[in-house]
């Protein structure tokens, strides 16, 4: 019988932040398999039961301190559906502006704090330098200062529209509680200029640091970080990337359309597989059927998030982002792009797109119209789907006729991406662990494999030190621990 060695990368953190990676080696010390495990959001789903639907958006906004606007927006859309209503056109514009401002803030933070350091400082650099501080030292303090100042423009818009710092309160079923004044519109328009400049600056940094670096481009376009799967994202009627509303489009590994759905239609396309080694069910495409945790043509795994959104779309709906969209696909020379480090590039393009969208929406004087509330029907059941920054987010509630939540189901981006993340981690481990040679560098090389997906594990709560500790346990062929590596 073949003996397996076991390496565990075990992030010990709190609710929803509970994740674990286990890597198994064979007798030769090469990777036999790898598993990525997380805890799902069932705690919140239970917590919502018995709660008035109007309270739910404000409550779910506490799911994540980073993704503050996305659960809130998805939940508000689900509440619209529960009350069988559609928000007014003005309310839709306000919500869309709010969500796009969030995209600017969130994508900026993820790129500069977590994505770019691998490239700017170097993927094999010491962990003490391979971080935002190292990034600032590499790009210069003035650039760092400029980025954070311009990012703050998005924060101001979120707080202005949301009605409360950090966790918004302004959305209501069927609308928004407060109309935008002309003065606010003008202020947002001025702030949008900073956001667009931030988007352009971010892509310039990406170009200077990654695109002009032959070694990094080999990493980006190579096979070590490649997962061939299907993709899902929201598009408008011209198949352009959307975040707030539209149709979910699914394409296969070659880019052929598998299907489209809205609302409860997700139940026709997404199934979940219970796996004995995982806390989390693994979603797959129901129409293809379960094919296992494998990528390649015919797989039933699908991915969501920035790269997935660009892969399912025919383009962006703003001019500057469209230029970069075309450039990205021209660089790879193929579509869909399966190289997961391109998630960072797609994220930067979306940052610019969202900034341009804020500018477009704030340029529309009708956003100050007073019609921000629609009539409500009798509450029953509703689904709200948006594109969260890290991928498709589905909130599904059933209430009684008084609007009290009886059942709740939340499918978040990290859940959709569970299969591809497993494949990515396994592939990276197979590429970088050879003949049992493991050192601290493996921690980051594996982290690079899941970082593009921006997994949201540690976000439901936090306590100091507010980060995700990673532990690597290495077992010998007898299953005994002989080495432990930690990043803390």
């Amino acid at each position: 019988m073949r003996t397996l060695k076991k390496i565990e990368i075990n992030p010990m953190t709190r609710l929803e932040g509970h994740g674990k990676i286990a890597i198994f080696l064979d007798d030769q010390g090469n990777v036999d398999n790898a598993f990525f495990q997380t805890v799902e959001l069932r705690g919140y789903e239970r917590f919502l039961q018995g709660m008035p639907i109007e309270e739910v958006p404000r409550t779910v906004s506490t799911i994540c301190g980073v993704c503050r606007a996305v659960h809130y927006t998805a939940s508000t859309k689900a509440a619209d559906a529960v009350y069988q209503t559609e928000p007014t056109p003005t309310a839709k514009k306000i919500r869309e502006l709010f969500l796009n401002a969030h995209y600017v803030e969130d994508h900026c933070a993820i790129l500069y704090a977590l994505g770019f350091p691998d490239f700017v400082v170097g993927p094999t650099a010491n962990a003490a330098a391979r971080n935002l501080i190292g990034l600032v030292q590499a790009v210069g303090a003035e650039t760092g200062k400029l980025v954070l100042k311009k990012r703050y423009a998005a924060v101001k818009v979120i707080e202005m529209l949301g009605g409360k710092p950090i966790h918004p309160v302004a959305a209501l079923p069927g609308g928004w509680s407060k109309a935008v004044t002309e003065e606010e519109r003008q202020e947002i328009l001025a702030l949008a200029k900073d956001m667009v400049e931030l988007g352009q600056l971010t892509l310039k940094v990406f170009e200077d640091v990654v695109l002009k670096n032959k070694e990094y481009m080999e990493l980006v376009t190579g096979d070590a970080y490649k997962v061939v799967c299907n993709y899902m994202g929201t598009v408008d009627d011209k198949n352009r990337v959307q975040y707030y509303d539209g149709t979910q489009r699914i394409v296969d590994t070659k880019g052929n359309e598998i299907g489209r759905f809205t609302g409860k239609g997700y139940l026709d396309y997404i199934a979940e597989r219970v796996l004995p080694w995982s806390y989390l069910k693994m979603p797959y495409l129901k129409k293809i059927g379960w094919k296992g945790v494998v990528d390649g043509e015919g797989t039933s795994l699908y991915s969501v998030g920035p790269l997935a959104r660009l892969n399912v779309a025919d383009g962006m709906d703003t001019p500057l982002a469209q230029e970069w969209y075309e450039r990205m696909y021209a660089t790879f020379g193929t579509k869909p792009v399966h190289n997961i480090l391109a998630y960072h590039w797609a994220r930067a393009i979306e940052l610019l797109n969202a900034a341009e969208k804020v500018q477009q929406l704030a340029s529309d004087e009708s956003i100050t119209n007073p019609d921000v509330r629609a009539e409500l029907g009798t509450p029953s059941e509703g689904v709200g789907i948006i594109e969260a920054c890290r991928g498709t987010l589905i909130h599904h509630y059933k209430t009684d006729d008084k609007g009290i939540v009886q059942e709740a189901n939340l499918i978040v981006a990290t859940t959709h991406n569970k299969g591809p993340i497993n494949v990515a981690v396994r592939r990276a481990a197979q590429n970088f662990i050879k003949n049992g040679q493991v050192d601290e560098g493996i921690l980051n090389l594996v982290e690079i494999a899941y970082r593009p997906y921006d997994i949201c594990l540690a976000c439901a709560t936090h306590t100091l030190p507010g980060r995700l500790p990673v532990e690597v346990d290495i077992y010998d062929s007898k299953g005994e621990l002989y080495k432990r590596l930690r990043n803390y």
Partner: protein, 150 residues
């Protein structure tokens, strides 16, 4: 002297809310801010103030309810910088001082409360942590009234 008290925590996850609850005692007395994360949003709330108090729940291995105080330098030397989805408070504060030295508070006092349960939903802290809130409030008040930041 412009002063802000920042409470960090999730208001619906029992002991994780302890920083929020302590900060809320100072509403109306000084500027207060509530945060759920330790990323750039911390800087959004600190820039422009002369001094700040940050109150947060911690797991440092002490008995639940233990109240401790730190300066920024204590944290910077305590932790490495890493994460998948967030920034640690020490990293964020270090970035703040490196990029915005003129706008960051000249003094930051960090008051921590050792937590027991941050995984159960609820707005009440566990008894040991609830009992520690008055002590944490007293420490913050003492700092504001007679600390070196006076």
């Amino acid at each position: 002297m412009r002063t802000v008290v920042v409470g960090i925590g999730n208001p619906v996850l029992r002991d994780d809310a302890v920083g929020v609850k302590v900060a809320q005692h100072f509403e109306g007395l000084v500027d207060t801010e509530i945060l759920m994360t330790t990323d750039f949003k911390v800087l959004d709330k600190l820039l422009g103030y002369d001094r700040a108090v940050i109150v947060d729940g911690v797991r440092l291995g002490h008995a639940p309810g233990t109240v401790l105080e730190f300066n920024v330098d204590d944290l910077l030397f305590t932790y490495t910088y890493s994460g998948t989805h967030n920034l640690s408070l020490p990293t964020t504060l270090k970035i703040g001082y490196e990029l915005f030295a003129e706008e960051m508070p000249r003094e930051i006092r960090i008051v921590t409360v050792e937590v027991e349960d941050v995984t159960t939903f609820g707005t009440d802290c566990t008894p040991a942590v609830e009992k520690a809130i008055p002590e944490a409030v007293r420490r913050v008040r003492h700092y504001l009234e007679s600390g070196s930041g006076k």
